[in-house]
């Protein structure tokens, strides 16, 4: 079959790593081609080379059989490439329409024709089923919508080849399903799609072929119809993967954290958490299931002290902490893995060692003589965690910005887990992580639990909630609808409750599919 795009022997080195190692990969016209691989295996790098953002050290790119030089993004766009980046490339302060038309503006005598821009974007949006308001400001719309804007940007530029770098990492299951529908539409109209993901379920559901990268090398390409979950998982990680978490039944002990009547407003003044009461005990995992945006984020931010609640109490070992600063709350043994690692979890321009002591940086043993950094301790700490948590690359002086998304997440996880917390709050802890890393983090969460930590787990992934939690609280429109023992929950039932269904009517009711 005809290749629309071929990469031949592409090699790209960064200081200390070979991000792409002689990769030869062909993309067929009109296919959906998945690209999977561990964190840091070089997927984003390879795609950035195609898009002209990075330049390969060696190797060549053929477009429709002819050799091309892609010197910058402009050249890539001219060839018909469109890319949706792992971390979106949108200008927050501009509107949807402005972002879409940027540098390809409809204009009369260099004056932007905003009316035409809006109409074009509106038409494009409705043609492809990408619902979004052209006049809305990017900072005001959800990530799901932002992603649609990114896709619109590519379509507006008549992309024949669309590269999607981990588009589903930030989407809810419903949004993922909608995205797949859009991808199918595009495919029908002849667009070629390269789709990067860590979720093998998605690979199997949507793609024609799949290629696997590992440590910068191409491990192979398969027809999706001729492979299966297990084979792909093994190709990605290089060993057999436990597809489920092994754990003993929990032995919950005393209550560590209790939340009573908590009401929280977000920054715009909308009440997002309404009169929530919960208890988390030592040695158990309490999962919070819910469609994103139902108050989980505000609940967690109120517990960790990032926002002050309107009413209610948060108690740690019987002591109220809701008035304390985030720093003091941390000091009392609360660890927190935030959902947005860039905004809350890391300082991107600090190196790994410094990121690994954030929040502990004023404490023993990282400070000596009250004022000075104890470099030896800081380095030792960093080296230990880099090894324990398999953070790659292993250079503790490298700044975190240059790390792959998954490895950035590992830095946060390593720091928070290593503090031996009494109360551990994990918000989307495995977002953007590869299956090997997910397996590892899941095991770590269970290990924390077995050591007596009280764990609060917030996740949009039902699989994750179901496999880790001992009890599951369902959150809907700011309220805890119900708390169920994990043994009594399944995906269907939770899915129904998450969408506002009535607990007492779940039996025997056919539920509208949410997860698939």
């Amino acid at each position: 079959m005809e290749h629309i795009l071929e990469m031949k022997n592409i090699t790209k080195r960064f200081p200390g790593v070979v991000a792409n190692d002689a990769i030869t990969l062909g993309i067929r016209k009109g296919e959906i081609h998945s690209l999977v691989g561990e964190n840091g295996s070089g997927k984003s790098t390879l795609m950035s080379i195609l898009y002209g953002l990075y330049h390969a050290d060696s190797g060549e790119i053929l477009f429709k059989g002819k050799k091309v030089e892609i010197g910058d993004s402009r050249a890539a766009i001219d060839l018909g490439l469109g890319m949706v980046f792992q971390h979106f490339m949108l200008v927050d302060t501009l509107t949807v329409a402005e972002n879409v038309i940027l540098r390809a503006e409809p204009a009369r005598y260099r004056f932007v024709d905003y009316r035409q821009a809006q109409n074009t974007v509106k038409k494009l949006a409705s043609d492809y089923g990408l619902r979004v308001d052209p006049r809305a400001r990017i900072s005001d719309i959800s990530v799901g919508q932002q992603q649609r804007v990114e896709i619109l940007k590519a379509l507006y530029r008549h992309a024949q080849i669309l590269i999607l770098d981990e588009p589903t990492a930030v989407l809810t299951p419903q949004e993922t399903e909608e995205l797949f529908q859009v991808m199918r539409n595009l495919k029908q109209q002849g667009t070629t799609i390269v789709f990067i993901t860590h979720k093998i379920k998605e690979v199997l559901a949507i793609s024609d072929r799949v290629s696997v990268l590992r440590r910068g090398k191409l491990m192979g390409t398969r027809n999706t119809a001729e492979t299966n979950h297990r084979e792909l998982a093994e190709m990605v990680v290089g060993r057999e993967v436990l597809l489920r978490v092994e754990k003993k039944p929990s032995e919950p002990r005393e209550t560590v954290a209790s939340i009573a009547g908590l009401t929280v407003k977000d920054r715009r003044g909308t009440t997002m958490v309404k009169d929530v009461s919960l208890e988390v005990r030592s040695g158990e995992v309490l999962g919070i299931a819910g469609v994103e945006g139902n108050g989980q984020q505000q609940l967690v931010e109120a517990i960790t002290g990032l926002i002050k609640p309107e009413a209610g109490k948060v108690m740690l070992h019987g002591q109220p902490i809701q008035k304390l600063s985030p720093m003091n709350i941390k000091k009392r043994g609360v660890s927190y893995i935030p959902e947005d690692r860039h905004k809350r979890g890391l300082i991107l321009d600090y190196n790994v060692a410094d990121n690994l002591i954030l929040g502990l940086h004023t404490q023993h043993p990282f400070v000596e003589r009250y004022l000075f950094r104890n470099e030896k301790q800081i380095d030792e700490h960093a080296r230990r965690l880099v090894a324990d948590y398999d953070i790659r690359p292993t250079d503790i002086r490298q700044i975190v910005r240059t790390f792959s998304g998954g490895n950035q997440q590992k830095v946060v996880v390593a720091r928070e887990f290593s503090r031996k917390p009494q109360f551990l709050i994990c918000s989307q802890p495995t977002r953007g992580l590869d299956i090997g890393a997910i397996e590892f983090i899941h095991q770590e969460i269970i290990r924390q639990r077995d050591q007596g930590t009280a764990v609060l787990l917030v996740s949009a992934e039902l699989d994750e909630i179901l496999s880790l939690s001992d009890r599951i609280a369902v959150m809907y429109e700011g309220r805890i609808v119900t708390v169920l023992p994990a043994a009594e929950s399944d995906e269907r039932r939770l899915g129904y409750l998450m969408l506002g269904g009535d607990l007492h009517r779940t039996e025997g009711v056919e539920i509208g599919t949410s997860a698939e």
């Binding site: 898009y51 953002l53 990075y54 330049h55 910058d72 993004s73 402009r74 766009i77 890319m83 980046f85 490339m89 949108l90 200008v91 927050d92 302060t93 501009l94 402005e98 972002n99 940027l102 540098r103 390809a104 503006e105 204009a107 260099r110 004056f111 932007v112 940007k153 530029r157």
Partner: protein, 309 residues
Amino acid sequence: MWAYITYFVNATVLAAALRMATPLIFTSMGGIFSERSGVINIGLEGMMLTGAFMGMLVTYYSGTPWVGLLGALASGAVMGLIHAVASVRYKVDQVVSGTAINIFAVGFTVFMLRTVFDVAGTSPAVPRIQSITLPLISRIPVVGEIIGNQNPMVYMALALVVLVHVFLFRTVWGLRLRAVGEHPKAADTVGINVFQTRYIAVIASGALAGLGGAYLSIAHLSRFGDGMTAGRGFISLAAMIFGKWTPFGALGASILFGFADAVQMRLQEVGIPRHFVQMGPYILTMIALAGFIGRATPPKAIGKPYEKE
């Protein structure tokens, strides 16, 4: 009470306020160009001072202040270019580069004044751009008294505000410029040349600051004096911030600061010391930055050199 108010606020004072605001308007428009593209321009003061000097010098030799104005524009642009080369190309810290320009400009103008005219302090008098009277408008009561009889550069400044507004918010270039200042990488990924955009913006910034300076030496007065900008570059920066990086906001702030300048004599008469009034712009700016008057959010990428790869 009314008499008390009209003592400070009357057509004469407002006309003076507009005159005092004019250099601030030019320079703050320059500031908007640079900062909207993501480059802090603390060197406005120095660019203004250079413009004031070169405006005078070119007028001296050409005998025509309008040619002098072109000289000011060009010299400001050159200063802008220096700032751009340092901070965009060589990624020198933008504040450091701007400060260097300020220090350089002081030395340069003092030195040149000595070398060319063999005087210290003040240049010889040169012809200046004369005020004009607008035919009909000047006969409208009050309004006519305020804007009817002003220097052409005052009218140019007001027209400039409209032009900059249209440029920023209506044209293709303005859209791209704003994108570069907010999220250069996003601009890059759609094929906008970030470096080129910033170069042009910073050069334009210097050119406008040069005009702002020239107003002082060849329109308001007719000679150059050492350090004659006296902090107006910084006040323009403050006006830009107080105006939330928008042309009309900066215009309003410039007029407010110009007004403070104009009433300062009268305030002194009622016992408020001059230095107190001079603190006004800075205090207002800090209040604006602290978020008391809506939010003054700078362009997001400001101060950060763009790194490709």
